[in-house]
């Protein structure tokens, strides 16, 4: 692909250099997928629940304009300050302004994929503002100066020994200590101090209710709550698609979210923020950043139904064997591969091709996004927009010509000869890619067509020459 940086295939190559580690990564995520299956199977109504969630989201996408206005009005009535940000830059500026207005230069942040998408941490750092991520996984990747590799399990690519080393360097834990219980306890102490001293807290938003103006934040650790309830200023950042119409719809989404994500029946905390506590400022930033464009793409708008559970990543055989960083975008995996091209088709032209279209993602999606069908459709768009290599285009045209003309096809060579040149191995001009670790099928003496001509004389009338 014509990206300046390495594409998914090249990054996966690097990831696969250590096969034992790939096995470990694959097994760890498969374990999460298995937990998801077990949780889903405890509810006989699971598939109806997915249908219902999908239909609620259809309704949301078709009324987003009015629901956002309704949410804004109700939230303002509740004492929440509502901001609108057309893009990532506007979002980051708004956060910075709120901090400036309050003379704050240090803050804590719980998990928010939106702020990853907007690269808020980098922006604030440039402005001289210190951000500490409080989700344990996010804190770990922050210390490692890496982005999260998974939207729910940010440091799933890291081994405990590596985390032990990071903590030794940054938090002063004993060298060689890698016991998860010990490391978690060390992080608890380290982050408690941050909770106690920082005056501003950023959280993400899982759901925002138009009818009531409240928003819901789900965590297992309690870090969003610790931050928000201690800070003078709470800033919640959300993509505009996180709106749901009514409070009662939370029943559907809270039943699906954690079961799909980790196999838990619900996250430990599902906190409903309706009003700031006395003396506290509560802000919410409604961010577009390409979402309204995606809404206008009929084939791709359903991607906006996503509730960020990560189930499609855990089930994806490619994600499990390539790691989140190979997707070189904030949201990895199948869902990221249909979201990212909307933001930058050229930069992310490789991602819709990083799939076998096996369809497992679509089956686990709690809001029934047709992910694998959208991957296929993005491929068509990307090629039509001119982001396929010229060599590939020529190869495809040759293939089409041959396959459209039986005489050419039949004369293209004896059994297998034409294929060895053209399908599917030559299309990328990377002939050796198959041979590197796999043998080719041996061309048989006769093709089926040739056999049929010779042997099917009994039913000669059935061949339509």
């Amino acid at each position: 692909m014509s990206t300046a940086t390495k594409d998914h295939a090249a990054l996966s190559d690097i990831f696969n250099a250590d096969e034992a580690r790939v096995n470990w990564h694959d097994d760890t995520l498969w374990f999460v997928r298995a937990k998801r299956d077990k949780a889903a199977h405890t509810l006989p109504e699971w598939e109806r629940l997915r249908d219902t969630a999908s239909q609620i989201k259809d309704n949301v996408l078709s009324n987003l304009h009015d629901y956002l206005l309704q949410f804004e009005s109700n939230a303002q009535h509740n004492g929440i300050t509502v901001h609108w940000a057309a893009d990532a830059a506007a979002h980051n500026r708004i956060v910075h302004e709120i901090l400036n207005d309050n003379g704050i230069r240090q803050l804590i942040k719980s998990k928010s994929m939106l702020t990853e998408e907007c690269h808020l941490n980098e922006y604030l750092k440039e402005q001289g503002v210190d951000v500490i991520d409080t989700d344990l996984g996010e804190r770990i990747v922050q210390l490692a100066e890496e982005p999260p590799s998974h939207i729910v399990l940010p440091c799933i690519h890291k081994k405990k020994e590596e985390i032990g080393t990071l903590f030794h360097e940054h938090l002063g834990t004993p060298e060689g200590m890698s016991d998860p219980v010990f490391l978690t306890a060390a992080a608890r102490l380290h982050l408690r101090e941050k909770f106690m001293t920082r005056r501003a807290a950023i959280t993400g938003v899982n759901f925002a209710v138009a009818e009531t103006g409240e928003f819901v934040v789900c965590t297992n650790e309690g870090n969003a709550d610790m931050g928000a309830h201690l800070a003078d200023v709470h800033i919640a950042c959300m993509g505009i698609e996180k709106i749901i119409p009514q409070r009662t719809h939370l029943s559907v989404f809270l039943r699906l979210l954690a079961r799909s994500a980790t196999g838990q029946p619900i996250t430990t905390y599902s906190s409903h923020f309706s009003k700031p506590r006395p003396g506290q400022q509560m802000h919410i930033i409604l961010v577009d950043n390409g979402r309204t464009t995606q809404l206008g793409r009929e084939d791709f708008r359903n991607s906006l139904k996503c509730i960020r559970c990560g189930a499609c990543m855990n089930t994806c055989p490619v994600y499990r064997r390539s790691g989140g960083h190979s997707y070189h975008t904030a949201i990895a995996g199948p869902i990221g591969s249909i979201l990212a091209p909307n933001l930058d088709m050229k930069k992310y032209a490789d991602l819709p091709f990083a799939s076998t279209l096996c369809g497992s993602c679509t089956n686990v999606c709690p809001v029934k996004i047709n992910i694998h069908e959208q991957l296929y459709k993005w491929r068509q768009v990307i090629v039509k927009e001119g982001y396929a290599s010229p060599a590939k285009t020529i190869a495809m045209k040759t293939m089409d010509f041959t396959l459209s003309h039986p005489a050419v096809y039949q004369k293209a060579g004896k059994a297998g000869r034409w294929f060895l040149k053209h399908i599917p191995f030559a299309v990328n001009n990377r002939m050796n890619a198959w041979y590197k670790q796999r043998d080719m099928p041996e061309p048989p003496k006769q093709s089926f067509r040739e056999w049929f001509k010779e042997n099917n004389t009994m039913q000669k009338n059935n061949s339509d020459e």
Binding site: H8, A9, S12, F15, D26, W30, D37, A40, L43, P44, W46, E47, P317, V318, R321, S322, F353, A354, S355, T356, L357, G359, S360, V364, R379, Q380, I382, V383, A388, M396, M399, D400, L403, S404, P406, A415, G416, W418, F419, I423, F425, V427, N428, R430, A433, W434, Q437, R438, D439, P441, P443, P444, Q446, S447, F448, R449, W451, K453, N462, D464
Partner: protein, 246 residues
Amino acid sequence: MTVGLFIPCYVDQFYPNAAIATLKLLQRLNVDVHYPMNQTCCGQPMANSGFEHLTAGCNNLFIDNFSQFDYVVSPSGSCVLHLKDHLHSATEETKARGIRKKIYELTEFLTDVLEVKSLTARFPHKVGVHQSCHGQRGLKLAQMTELVDQPFSKPLQLLNMVEDLELVPLTRPDECCGFGGTFCVIEEAVSVKMGKDRVADHISNGAQYITAADMSCLMHMEGILKRQNSQVRVLHIAEILNAQEQ
């Protein structure tokens, strides 16, 4: 009832035995099978690479070859799914729609149209069944482990009719083999790793043969097995359903 037999291009060229078994199996079940000689390909290799707009010629050729039959049957779930989803024509859309409705993958044709209740076949070996994704999740040939619903499997329903065949259970019953068309070369590292893992699952559970309703997955796994000098063989499901080993 007339059946047009669609033998996908790579099966024609590399795996004639799978095609022959399909033909013979249908003939043994007294189906009036026709093989149009001018057929080539379903167009999927181009379409899955993002070049669906180049498949018009391929599509029209397919329509010319197959619209006259009552059914179209093919021993490849992936090609059938592609045609069901994407066979269109600017000039012959009615015929295209007709084919989309009457095209069947072999095993579903046997279980749903012919309603086969028994087979005369014997295959005294340990067999692992690879659930090819497009057949399983696309054509719904078998229940998917992701869904909370009743289990069923059309390929297994048929394999259970084969005398002395021993099915081996798999640790991950429906994980993709990593072929994925051009994916297998564009994403070589991941594709190979997926294939190795799939093959390992069959081998560790004792399979002597790996079978599937899709030859492309088997071609991929065969490429890996051969490189590993493994004794495990791949066979298209038609070859097993048609096996007469004594």
